[in-house]
């Protein structure tokens, strides 16, 4: 009696992924243009990490919070743009006020005033005050981080493969990052520092996927020296399809559990990652691989050209 697993993904598939490239490229291009369009018109709902200001999560100690009451208490203090909303639990209210002009002290003062105005009936569960200096630094650091990540990856793939692979992978990454920013703009979800962390994780994950397909492409380039590149890419994607899907499913199982049960604080962060896994899986199949066809790859892999180290598979 042997305990076998179920082969979820049929093997020997011959899905012509690469010939779908006209459709998928147009689709992706449209989605990217839409994302950039949304980003430049609607913009992002930046969290206080980036624009500065004060964010306070308060809980009414005695029962459900009265939003109108909170609004009247805080609204009259003259802080400019004030957002007050229900949060998570009926007892909880999220109060956000914009960055106060008048330097770092003005923001601290605003917090003090809110504490006095709300009085003892509320418990201050989470307080964040980000002044102008730090918020501009964090924005800068965030942008630098994402760009550095992409450059480092570009170099790594270039070293391990060929420049066409490197460009194809980075194309897929830029695609993923732009679409993630697009969905955040579309849904107006709060864009915080942890979303940058999620973006970088997406970069890592999407790359992981792309590299797996590329590895197979490289292997097949050695194996089938005469096969047309389009067919070779299709074979490679089909051969790795079961792995791509199974890994995405396990990662999504873990992420969805976090999304549903992990609490309000990290929901945005987890949402970005779920989106990234889906988009990243799509892009490594439909963007990164067909891109090789457009960029053209070297066909003679018999020498040391691409392989920087001895393939373990050939060693005995």
């Amino acid at each position: 009696m042997v305990f076998k697993g179920i082969d979820f993904v049929p093997h020997g598939t011959k899905i012509p992924f690469v010939s779908m490239r006209t459709i998928t490229f147009i689709l992706s291009a449209l989605a990217m243009v839409a994302s950039i369009g949304l980003f430049s018109t609607k913009g992002l709902n930046y969290g206080i990490d980036f624009i500065g200001g004060t964010s306070i999560e308060v809980r009414n100690k005695t029962g459900p919070a009265d939003i109108a009451d909170v609004r009247s208490k805080v609204g009259g203090l003259g802080f400019g743009d004030v957002q007050i909303q229900q949060f998570n639990d009926p007892r909880d209210v999220l109060v956000r006020i914009e960055l106060q002009s008048g330097g770092e002290e003005a923001n601290q003062l605003a917090l003090d005033k809110i504490r006095v105005a709300l009085g003892d009936g509320f418990e201050f569960r989470n307080t964040e005050v980000i002044g102008p200096t730090v918020s501009s630094e964090l924005t800068e650091a965030g942008i630098i981080a994402v760009i550095t990540a992409i450059i480092v990856v570009l170099i790594y793939i270039w070293l391990r493969f060929e420049w066409q692979f490197s460009l194809g992978a980075v194309l897929a990454l830029v695609h993923d990052v732009i679409l993630t920013i697009g969905i955040f703009s579309f849904l107006q979800l709060e864009f915080t520092l942890s979303i940058i962390a999620a973006l970088l994780t997406i970069v890592g994950y999407s790359l992981n996927d792309t590299v797996v397909v590329y590895d197979r492409v490289r292997e097949n380039l050695r194996k089938f020296k005469k096969m047309p590149l389009a067919d070779l890419l299709d074979v490679s994607i089909n051969e790795t399809l079961s792995r791509t899907i199974l890994t995405s499913v396990t990662t999504l199982i873990a992420l969805v559990s976090l999304f549903v049960f992990g609490g309000e604080v990290i929901r945005g962060f987890v949402f970005a990652m779920i989106w990234g896994v889906i988009v990243g899986t799509y892009s490594s199949i439909f963007i990164a691989s067909p891109a090789l066809l457009l960029l053209g790859v070297k066909r003679d892999w018999s020498g040391l050209g691409g392989a920087k180290y001895k393939e373990p598979g050939t060693a005995k």
């Binding site: 964090l138 790594y156 962390a197 992981n208 797996v212 792995r243 396990t250």
Partner: protein
Amino acid sequence: MLHFSKWKTFTIWAIALIGIFCAAPNLIPEKDLASYPAFMQKLRLNLGLDLRGGSHLLMQMDKNVLIEKQIKILRGNVRNVLRGKKEGDKHVGAIRYRDLSAKKDRVEFKPSDPADLDRAFEAVKTLITPLPTTSFGTVPGNNLEIEKTADGRITIKPTDPAIAQRISTTIDSAIEVVRRRVDELGTTEPSIQRQGDDRILLQVPGYDNPEKLKDVVKQAAVLSFHLVVRPATAQDAAEGLTEPGTTIYPSKDQYSSHYILEDEPLITGADLANAQQSFGAQTNRPVVTFRLNSRGAIRFGEVTTDNVGRPFAIVLDNQVISAPTIQEPITGGTGQISGNFTVSSADDLAILLRSGSLEAPLTILEERTVDASLGADSIAAGKLAAMIGLAGVVLFILVAYGQFGIYANVALLINIAMIVGALSLLQATLTLPGIAGIVLTMGMAVDANVLIFERIREELRAGKTAISAIESGYSRALSTILDANITTFLAAIILFWLGSGPVKGFAVTLSIGIFTSVFTAFVLTRWLIAVWLRSKRSKTVEMPI
């Protein structure tokens, strides 16, 4: 690939068991941990502020205030030099000057007699001293730059390294002062770090009064006692009506809005030996009582003996708190400060006076405070999500890979134990995004096994025997696994480098997860499968995958 020597087997299990051993204290209630035997390591996960509650304050010291102070001291030194040497009652070699003034970044003056320009230049040059060598071994040069200008002035300017060194030492001592103040509040394990050249990051876990914390930490609390020349009005202050050697200060007491005080302090905060909140003997209102050190006591005794009947002012951070009249000589070295205090504000002041003053107040650039109850909620939610996520992944892998799935799941569980163990041992901070990192690692850790197992299936379909399918499954998947994990690791490094608080925690968890998952998924499962294969003793086994 499938042969494991004895020592290899031993090493693999030793690593796995050490991981589990290090993770174990997290399953034991904290109070019971102390009674466990000495060989047990007792480090548990170090929870971040977002999980245990607490305050995170990023503060900056105003450089300009420090530079301004430095320039003022420099002006005094220049004045002393120009006064010449004191021989008996006379000053020898004095140089007459005009317009000695402290500008934003320099001191300048003009010798009254243009012929004195060179002599004055030489005299001022005696103030130049080389700066101490830095710890990197570079020689930073001198403390001052002195120049003659075309219109017959001399400018004296502190050099950039001199200013940098001064800011650096000031921040170092400020960190000590902040530490003493936070300790006075009775908090446990505050973390105080320097960030950049003029910033301090203070993290205080589990303290539930962030307002008090901020009040106590950021104030300069520079205390001095001065003799009062006369009370003054707001108008006097606006006109800057003072005599040489005196300064006008705003006041908090109810008698006068301003006071003109002698510049020379009677005593300063540095002369204090202790300070306590107490109640006034007659008024029964909150006061701060203080005790002077011996030097301060002697000095204060002398001054109060000489000035009975005159008022003196207690100045805190350039503001007069009160200006009592000296009724009788105070020789015991103790006294009290009364003002418009509440018990709490008197207590704060006592804390500040006990722990010393900052040279300039600290500005809070960033504050993040999480209530302990929210942290507990986050932990509960994170645990629940991790459990359900783990159960989902384990079940899925079991269904997808059968008996080999069990091996992958054993590896996954050991992987999680190793991550928790490594985090506990390193005392890396576990934040809420860090928990997300662990959950994400669960999903990604099985990736290596998925790669290997799919490869094995492929090889089997291609007609290979069980052993050679497993062999080539592992060996061919290796380069892919390495490539995939190195790229993720690169992203994690950049995250760490970008790192602020919670994000850094996520990067650490992710990086640790990459190493442990390669070990468990590639090495541990291979060992398990090798043992299983050997138990079959046949080359034509049916593959349970």
